[in-house]
């Protein structure tokens, strides 16, 4: 289970493709004698993984309550392997990190599964779809020569060139309109917003020109376009860069709104979105970009898609249904792990799609567990949780509720900057646990 220092070193050597490997030696000898990763700050670890020079907003309090030796996904050996691999990637810019991580010699999990970050899954999805269909192209700020503001489109410009990967000036309304027009004329654009906050400048083109056109033309004019980019809160970027737009776009008929959580979601849903003949708003999350997840062999296939409009039960449970999307699926799973020790079995539903909402999945689960808690990062008023509660009330599941449904949401304020304020304006694991216990009246 524990990899020897020789094996560890040789894996690095293989991965660095002969580019002055010996220079790495001093760093890794230090590592080999470094304290076990579980005692390092997880924030630091995440910094390395995300290649971010910002400290990621991990509410590290939850870590303290977790007994890491029991969290099977992150064993010391795997931790060390992952950290080494990501450091390798960090030092060796421009290379596809996935190929490095695909070195499976020391991996303990299922034979054909592989660890892929959400960023790389998105990159793979776009690469495969660009290859598959000549009409697909990507446009947005810094997507080409900069390799993507968050490096999601890394390597694509080098592979496909100026015609298919287009850098735009900082003019959202203009380039979004251009993307929608191109979609009307038969192309299949992927329009990237650096963050969805900037999509507000172009929201007229998304709603009035893209979403409504097929209806207004009574089927004469379709708009096969994908709008994608990071949505919701990041770390320390303050009020104008932290808004969640799931509720805003989820409100409008004519749009499909998708919110992936893990790498498999990201890849499968992005491929479905690109292949869909309708406008799709694809809400990613910046804090999830660098997080690696296991991807099954099936999900590595070039034709792997996840249907839009279907939620997934990530964890089976019997006492309470937790409905969530995007980053908060991780929070819910962690809360569920903690609650399990107290004998409360939570069923965690990963919505995957905001519009159309998979109400059947939610209702089936509520009819089983009799309790509902929704968790999201957006504001409470007129939010995703509010819609879920209303739908449950209108359907058969209402009669099965033993308590009113609870919404766990972001605090109803513009996002503050100071870390302590920011941490306390978003749902934390302890908030979820508290809400579940209140709902169950324990």
């Amino acid at each position: 289970m524990y990899c020897s220092s020789w094996q560890f070193w040789s894996s690095l050597h293989k991965g660095s493709s002969g580019r002055c490997p010996w220079l790495l030696f001093p760093f890794f000898t230090l590592w080999l004698f470094a304290p076990p990763p579980s005692q390092l700050s997880r924030c630091d670890w995440l910094c390395v993984m995300t290649r971010s020079d910002r400290v990621v907003n991990c509410s590290c309090d939850w870590l303290k309550s977790l007994d890491l030796s029991r969290v099977t996904a992150f064993s010391p050996a795997e931790d060390r392997f992952n950290m080494a691999a990501s450091l390798r990637c960090f030092l060796r810019t421009g290379k596809n990190a996935v190929s490095a991580l695909q070195r499976r010699e020391f991996h303990r999990s299922l034979p054909a599964a592989v660890q892929v970050t959400v960023r790389d899954a998105l990159n793979q999805a776009m690469d495969e779809e660009l290859e598959r269909d000549e009409r697909v192209f990507l446009l947005g700020e810094e997507v080409a020569q900069y390799d993507g503001a968050y490096k999601v489109s890394r390597g694509l410009w080098k592979k496909y060139g100026d015609k298919r990967i287009i850098d735009t000036p900082i003019t959202e309304m203009g380039f979004t309109g251009i993307a929608v027009g191109a979609a009307m004329a038969g192309l299949r654009p992927i329009c990237e917003f650096m963050t969805f906050n900037f999509s507000m400048q172009a929201i007229d083109q998304v709603i009035n020109s893209a979403a409504k056109t097929y209806y207004m033309s009574a089927g004469l004019q379709s708009v096969p376009i994908v709008f994608r980019g990071p949505n919701g809160a990041s770390a320390g970027v303050a009020a104008q860069h932290s808004q969640c737009f799931a509720a805003w776009y989820g409100h409008c008929p004519g749009l499909k709104v998708v919110s992936p959580w893990n790498a498999e979601d990201a890849k499968g849903l992005l491929k479905s979105a690109i292949r869909d003949d309708n406008p799709v708003v694809f809400l990613e999350n910046e804090l999830m970009y660098g997080v690696p997840f296991e991807m099954s062999e099936e999900s590595q296939s070039k034709d792997f898609t996840i249907p839009i409009g279907k939620a997934k039960v990530e964890r089976q449970g019997t006492h309470v249904t937790m409905v969530t999307h995007s980053r908060y699926v991780s929070h819910c799973l962690d809360a569920a792990a903690v609650l399990a020790k107290e004998g409360i079995e939570c069923e965690v539903i990963n919505l995957r799609t905001i519009r159309p909402l998979d109400v059947d999945c939610i209702e089936t689960s509520v009819m089983k567990t009799n309790h509902l808690v929704t968790v999201e990062g957006g504001w409470p008023q007129f939010g995703v949780g509010a819609e879920i509660c209303a739908r449950v009330m209108e359907g058969p599941a209402f009669n099965y509720l033993d308590a009113p449904a609870t919404r766990v949401t972001g605090v109803d304020i513009p996002m503050p900057y100071a870390k302590i304020l920011e941490d306390n304006s978003l749902p934390q694991i302890k908030d979820i646990i508290f809400s579940v216990k209140k709902t169950l009246n324990v």
């Binding site: 000036p169 027009g181 207004m216 033309s217 309708n278």
Partner: protein
């Protein structure tokens, strides 16, 4: 013999009176047939005309000032412009009778723009405009029946009654757009697709003097010039953006110069040959790969901004009458053709009558065609998707949506 003559004459007169009273069209057609048969060879097949020189911006040469128009072309332009004019006037009538509701932005006075542009491009080229779109829907292949039925919101409408006045679509015609200025980036996007596919097509994006101050238009100019998109941007300057005159809305009313680094032309939009020639010049500029070009068409609308605007609170009736008298596009064309012996008065009158009839038929259809079925309410949300359920006004109403 005299008695015979008189009786024959009276018989002839009574017969002709009988014919004229009971079959007026027949006699007229007969007469016209005789007339045209007699004078067909007398008409000039083509003539050259001197047109106003265009003002140019960042261009070395201007469109030609001497142009040739054939008789057939002239008749076709006349017919189309007359159809457009009568269709708009009919829409005015129907709106006042409350058979058309909501928004209705009429195009009469500006016919030379739509017909002139279409004369210089092909149906395989693309076009997009704002809400004053009835004329363009016609030139881009829509029929008068479909357009009028769409205005009255019936199932025979070009958008099955779901779009209305501002949202009419047809092949290579992207509407009909309600948000001022939004159609310009869309048009540049269509031009991007033309360049991407490499099919030598171009896209004409129209907007008004009111929209010309929109930020997204300048964003579009930048990207179109940067990427050398085959886009012709056309500003239809009818002097008033809703109720605001150009002097009160724009710091610079030289709309053809507003593209700055994009070459521009200022064109007399009431003269169809001017418009046609300028558009030909612009199309050649685009197709040769030089990138976008701007055109300002100086034109005028007789009606107000829309049917809810009388159109006289911000301009005088004298001004409207003056333009109607001196620069009406249909009259200009008619005078040109008559003075060059390219058509006869009767022939043009005949076209008028046939156009009137076509419009009457279309209006009849538009008022009698049934409204769309309620089953159609939720259809056309998504394309190529399996049927889905749509919530009605209350939780128990579940409606079906088909692609």
């Amino acid at each position: 013999l005299e008695k015979h003559l008189i009786s024959n004459l009276s018989r002839f007169v009574s017969l002709s009176i009988h014919l004229v009273i009971n079959f007026p069209s027949l006699s007229l057609q007969g007469a016209a047939l005789v007339m045209s048969a007699r004078s067909y060879s007398d008409f000039t097949t083509q003539a050259s005309f001197e047109i106003k020189k265009c003002d140019i911006h960042k261009l070395d040469e201007a469109p030609a000032t001497e142009v040739v128009m054939t008789r057939d072309e002239g008749l076709q332009y006349y017919r189309t412009m007359q159809t457009m004019r009568r269709m708009e006037l009919k829409a005015d009538q129907l709106y006042k009778q409350k058979i058309i509701r909501g928004f209705c932005h009429l195009y009469d006075g500006q016919e030379a723009c739509a017909v002139g542009i279409e004369a210089a491009i092909n149906l395989t080229d693309h076009l997009i405009t704002a809400y004053r779109a009835h004329g363009y829907t016609l030139t881009r292949g829509g029929t008068v029946r479909e357009i009028m039925a769409e205005l009255t919101g019936r199932r025979g409408g070009i958008a099955k009654g779901k779009g209305g006045s501002m949202h009419m679509y047809s092949k290579n015609f992207y509407g009909g757009n309600g948000i001022v200025g939004a159609q310009v980036p869309l048009g540049a996007g269509v031009a991007l697709a033309c360049k991407y596919f490499g099919n030598n097509e171009l896209c004409v994006s129209l907007y008004g003097d009111g929209a010309a101050n929109q930020g997204q238009i300048f964003e579009t100019y930048n990207m179109a010039a940067l990427w050398k998109l085959p886009a012709i941007f056309i500003c239809e300057n009818n002097r008033y953006g809703m109720g605001t005159s150009v002097e009160r809305a724009a710091a610079s009313t030289d709309y053809y110069k507003r593209g700055d680094f994009i070459p521009g032309l200022r064109v007399d939009g009431m003269d169809i040959l001017c418009v046609r020639e300028a558009t030909r010049f612009a199309a050649e500029h685009c197709r040769s790969g030089k990138g976008p070009i701007l055109m300002e068409l100086q034109t005028y609308r007789y009606h107000g901004h829309s049917m809810s605007d009388p159109g006289v609170s911000y301009r005088t009736r004298e001004e409207i009458q003056e333009v109607r008298g001196k620069s009406d596009p249909i009259s200009l064309l008619k005078d040109r053709m008559l003075s060059n012996n390219m058509a006869s008065v009767e022939e043009l009158k005949e076209i008028d009558v046939s156009v009137r009839k076509e419009i009457e038929d279309a209006a009849q259809f538009a008022t009698t065609d049934p409204e769309p079925p309620l089953e159609d309410l939720c259809n056309h949300i998504f394309y190529n998707d399996p049927p889905l359920e749509v919530r009605g006004t209350n939780p128990w109403t579940k409606l079906k949506s088909v692609s």
